[in-house]
Symmetry: C2
Subunit: 163 residues, 2 copies
DNA sequence: ACTCCATATGTTATGGTATAACAACAGTTG
DNA sequence: CAACTGTTGTTATACCATAACATATGGAGT
């Protein structure tokens, strides 16, 4: 397990840092990072991959933080709507944001081998799509950009099947 | 109802033309455009918008063409895998392709006012996303590009609330 | 004609994702 | 304290999708 940038890194550290950043952000913006919401963000950060709402719910249940789907979905809605997490439409799953604070339109690279997800940056209002939208008189408010393919690790594994 | 390019057009004609084109393509490529598959494509073309699998299924049922979900899903799988239709991940719905034959990576403009969907063309392997993927060593095989926003008609309606 | 095989359809059952609707409670503001 | 806002808890249900197996249908080869 070493997704996101498809590289290894100090995971323990990044979880804590992201959590602290989220807390600071919420304090600054008068947002209520309740125990459930905080824990869901932590779970997403720890998992460091796309997780289904019911995966999350299983953890919450085990910890006595809520037993019904709406509990998980509400926490996820909060995180997504404030930019702490994103939904991967293609997977019906959620993932912690790797650069919150930064105003960004996320794009995802989803590996079909290991399901790792890396977050990149897109500018949907530019390029061909932006031009097409402008021509059609369409106002883009939000965009889902998800590329499916194979991450470097899985490509390597396929070329050199030494396992 | 006048989606796709967000403009009015001779709908009757485009349904027939698209259906004829699909038939020709299937004949040429030895694909089996069975009654169910043909009818599902026709429904998508007639509806001219994103339709859920169960919407489709309701029609099929009413026409005695199949009563269970797999019937609809299988026909949709066929159409999608041969490029006659696309799945809109964001809506969990399907839409007829507006330019089959052409080899293309579809991108969609989805209006949150009227749910109309226009199909544009994207080149995910270029631009920022392509660069990010190349840097990460990620090989893009397929891409989902879906922009949400407001179509010209709904924008107009909002500015001049004369209804 | 008959068997074999591939493809397509039919059906049952189930699994996975998501939300509506309402009840209860906490904090805070006037 | 009363009214309000926001959060959580719970029930119930709706919606989306597929696994698994049974049944047909239509060639290809003999």
């Amino acid at each position: 397990m070493d997704p996101l940038g498809f590289e290894h890194h100090d995971h323990r550290h990044c979880v804590h840092a992201a959590l602290a950043a989220a807390e600071a952000h919420c304090a600054r913006h008068r947002l209520n990072l309740t125990p459930v919401r905080r824990r869901v963000l932590e779970l997403l950060l720890e998992g460091h991959r796309a997780m289904g709402a019911y995966d999350i719910l299983d953890h919450l249940r085990a910890e006595g933080l809520g037993a019904q789907p709406p509990v998980a979905y509400r926490a996820l809605d909060f995180l997504v709507s404030h930019g702490f997490a994103h939904k991967i439409e293609r997977l019906n799953a959620f993932i912690a944001c790797t650069h919150p604070e930064t105003d960004h339109t996320p794009a995802f690279l989803i590996c079909r081998g290991c399901n790792a997800v890396a977050e990149a940056h897109a500018e949907p209002t530019r390029g061909m799509l932006g031009r097409a939208a402008a021509e059609a008189g369409f106002e883009i408010e939000q965009a889902v950009v998800e590329a499916l393919g194979r991450c470097p690790n899985c490509r390597k594994a396929e070329e050199a099947p030494c396992a």
